[in-house]
């Protein structure tokens, strides 16, 4: 074994320049793959976290069908007691009950249609980051206070600041006319223009009173520390709400079908591109190894005449390829790791990216994730394809006839 290893290593350096050129092709692709895959993983992670943490949470409890068709009447009775029950049984999750409706908000000068969310002032700051993004004024305090927190663009469009009053007009759960006067206590800036333009929060008790909802609400959001816990917590929540009629528990994939699909679409188009790169490297390896086998026809003829089995020669060629691919892999991963690490600290940006990123709840700069999988996934596939590419040159050796081969120059 050590003998063939030494043999393979020496054979590799018989054509120094060729070996390095082929290894360089691998290094080039590996560095590129490590960087791009790390960047992809980094942006997916950020996209999921930003989207879920801002408002929706990882899991929600809703009335069946509400997610597809968020009708006002599709509400859960006794939403706060249910949230309390979940809170008592699931200490790992940060849980908040909510109700959601549309209203025409009027200031002294302007009126616009907005989305009003009734939230529990005590629990909402745990379940979403929005309360923390209140830059002016404060978040809601009183359980039943006539207070409202609105987005920065909405504040600008309505021409109001903290302390001003807004009139809300809408229709209640029973179809009655719903109206209320609320004081703007805080203005948040989430960075997502859609949210900043049309989103507002009032205390849940007050919401229920204005919209004649009794003890009803529309959802209970559960925020977790990581996406990895979703399955366990989902099962727990399901067991807890099983007694309630028509109430379901759904995870983030169902809450944001677009998110998962955007990741899938990006993944598949990215792998189409990576695939092309990898195939080009494999061609390079195929060419090199085929040449190196053809050059040695005479030598291989002599060796087989001396009694070495073609199987051993084929293994030698594969071993040479593996060694070369290992050089490409280690240098490629090392350099790729340096590049990813560099951008992991300073962030990566290119012109126009900030505008595109905002659509996916991403900041203007992206930070690649440096993990074992993001470092090794691409290079491992390159390694595998290099080995596959050398199968043809190796298999040719089985057809080698010693006498003819020895005549070759």
């Amino acid at each position: 074994m050590t003998l063939s290893l030494r043999l393979a290593w020496r054979n590799l350096w018989r054509h120094k320049r060729r070996t390095w050129l082929t290894a360089s092709a691998m290094i080039f692709s590996n560095v590129l793959l490590v960087f791009l895959i790390s960047l992809q993983y980094g942006s997916y992670e950020m996209m999921i976290n930003n989207t879920l943490q801002t408002f929706s949470g990882h899991i929600q409890v809703q009335k069946a069908g509400y997610q597809k068709n968020p009708k006002f009447r599709n509400s859960i009775a006794g939403v706060q007691p249910l949230a309390d029950k979940l809170r008592a049984a699931m200490p790992e999750a940060r849980i908040a009950a909510r109700a959601a409706g549309f209203a025409l908000a009027s200031s002294e000068q302007r009126s616009i249609g907005i989305q009003v969310i009734g939230v529990e002032p005590a629990f909402e700051p745990g379940a979403s980051t929005l309360p923390g993004l209140v830059l002016e004024g404060r978040f809601l305090q009183g359980e039943n206070a006539a207070e409202i927190v609105i987005g920065s663009l909405m504040a600008r469009n309505l021409k109001v600041t903290t302390g001003d009053e807004l009139t809300l007009l809408g229709s209640g759960l029973d179809g009655s006319f719903a109206a209320g006067v609320v004081t703007v206590v805080g203005i948040f800036d989430s960075g997502t223009s859609e949210m900043d333009r049309s989103f507002a929060e009032v205390p849940l008790d007050y919401f229920q009173e204005v919209f004649a909802m009794g003890d009803h609400g529309h959802s209970i959001a559960l925020a977790l520390d990581s996406i990895d816990f979703v399955d366990i917590e989902l099962a727990k929540a399901e067991a807890l709400v099983s007694g309630q009629n028509g109430v379901v528990v759904i995870d983030w994939i169902e809450l944001h079908p677009g998110l998962k699909q955007a990741i899938q679409a990006d993944m598949s188009s990215a792998w189409l591109m990576y695939g092309v790169l990898i195939i080009l490297v494999a061609f390079s390896v195929l060419n090199t190894q085929l040449m190196s086998v053809l050059e040695r026809t005479h030598e291989f003829g002599v060796i087989t005449a001396l009694g070495i089995k073609p199987r051993k020669l084929a293994a030698l060629v594969m071993l040479e390829t593996a060694l070369m691919a290992l050089i490409g892999l280690s240098i490629g991963v090392f350099l790729g790791w340096l590049v990813a690490l560099y951008f992991n600290t300073v962030g990566f940006a290119y012109p126009g990216m900030a505008e595109v990123a905002e659509r996916f709840n991403l900041p203007g700069k992206m930070y690649p994730t440096v993990s074992l999988i993001s470092l090794l996934l691409g290079p491992a596939v390159v390694f595998l394809f290099c080995l596959i590419a050398s199968v043809y040159p190796a298999v040719r050796l089985f057809r080698l006839r010693p006498v003819d081969a020895m005549r070759a120059v």
């Binding site: 009708k71 549309f102 061609f283």
Partner: protein, 414 residues
């Protein structure tokens, strides 16, 4: 170098061609690699282009128009206070010029729509139906009922998704509430006369249409509108259109092209051009290692022969020329194959590639669920030029090395 001292071009070409096929396996593998690389350059570019083109076109349809005229404060604060008067004679004259393919004026105000079941915040558009058609409103998008017939039409056309949300139906009445310039709530009942479907489902929940005069009457806005939208022939080149409309501006209005109104769309176009170039160069770099390797091996195998040719009086420049010619032939063949492969694979997809499995994800980017690859001559040429120019440049090194051997030493090499 004077051609007199060289072999004639025909002889050199024949020599290079024969050299190319001395090791046919190696040449075939390299040829295949170049073809795959070129295919990838063109194919992926066509897919991306198709996606972005469509996104921009749909975006412009939604804006709508390639150039818009507003009150100077309207874009910053799209409220009813920042309305503008209906086009003055000078503007009307500009709108009749040949650069203008179609134009319309609209009132666009935020509103609340309520059925007896539910209510939603929407954008109410008061439109002139003829103008909407001129601007590219597609009558086929109407799935039920009719579109508006005149600016005085009091019917309401809403999106299919909004109709479902409100649990109402064609022919039923809904209430629309908005605000007049004095901040009084203005509301009236409307009968739903038509239901449309949009390429992007989210838009169906946002826009509701009624007659321009109806909205002006409701809001006390006689003679005032929110915007004039103008469309021309080619969205990539709006300078002439912009100059013409801008020329009719008396200074009280703002005239902007689409890329400034929706900066996301404008930036996407630039990002795309940059991406195409980066992609083509990355693929070329991956190819170049193999190309240099192949030529190096060819030179290495023929050292003795090179020495012999030099000893017989062939100039070093001619040897370099010979190797470059061989590389050029390899590149040209690979390009030919790659181009054919790309065109052959794009043609069957021109009817549209269904990606509805990830429709909601694509919608986040503003892309609808059918992708039409767009093969642009410009991209095709770019890929070919990059491969030929950079390919010949990378071949310079091995070719130059080949010309630097000393005849005696080279012949002595085994």
């Amino acid at each position: 170098m004077t051609t007199g001292q060289h072999l004639p071009v025909a002889a050199m070409s024949r020599l290079a061609w024969r050299n190319l096929w001395r090791n046919h396996r190696r040449t075939l593998i390299m040829l295949l690699a170049i073809a795959v690389g070129v295919w990838a350059m063109i194919f992926m570019t066509a897919l991306m282009r198709g996606m972005v083109d469509q996104m921009i076109e749909d975006g412009i349809d939604m804006l709508p128009g390639m150039v818009q005229v507003h009150h100077p404060d309207y874009l910053d604060d799209p409220s009813i206070e920042n309305s503008m008067p209906e086009p003055a004679p000078k503007l009307l004259q500009a709108l009749a010029s040949p650069e203008v393919k179609g134009w319309t004026s609209r009132v666009r105000v935020p509103a609340m729509i309520s059925s007896e079941r539910d209510s939603r915040g929407v954008t109410l558009l008061g439109v002139n139906p003829q103008g909407e058609y001129a601007l590219g409103f597609n009558p086929d998008s109407l799935v039920e009922g009719r579109f508006l017939e005149s600016p005085d039409d009091t019917g309401l056309v809403i999106g299919r998704k909004l109709l479902e949300r409100l649990e109402t139906d064609l022919g039923k009445r809904v209430v629309v509430m908005s605000q007049d310039p004095e901040n009084n709530v203005a509301d009236r009942g409307f009968r739903i006369v038509g239901v449309y479907e949009a390429k992007l489902a989210s838009l169906e929940e946002v826009y509701i249409y009624t007659g321009l005069k109806t909205v002006q009457g409701l809001l006390g806005l006689e003679g005032m509108i929110s915007e004039v939208s103008v469309t021309g022939e080619d969205y990539r080149d709006v300078d002439a259109l912009l100059a013409r409309i801008g020329g009719a501006n008396d200074g009280t209005l703002e005239v902007l092209p689409w890329m400034e109104i929706d900066s996301y769309l404008g930036i996407m176009m630039g990002v795309m051009d940059g991406f195409v170039l980066v992609w083509i160069i990355v693929i070329f770099l991956a190819l170049s290692f193999g190309l240099v390797n192949t030529l190096m091996m060819a030179v290495f195998e023929r050292i003795r022969e090179i020495g012999l040719m030099q000893a017989l009086g062939m100039k070093p420049s001619a040897i370099m020329y010979l190797f470059l010619l061989e590389s050029l032939m390899l590149l040209a063949l690979g390009l030919l194959l790659g181009n054919l492969l790309a065109i052959a694979s794009i043609r069957p997809l021109e009817g549209g590639l269904d990606i509805s499995a990830v429709a909601e994800g694509m919608e986040m980017m503003g892309v609808s669920s059918v992708l039409y690859p767009a093969l642009k001559l410009r991209d095709l040429l770019l890929a070919n030029v990059v491969v030929i120019v950079l390919g010949v440049l990378t071949s310079l090194l091995p070719a130059w090395r080949a010309s630097q051997y000393r005849p005696v030493e080279a012949i002595a090499k085994t």
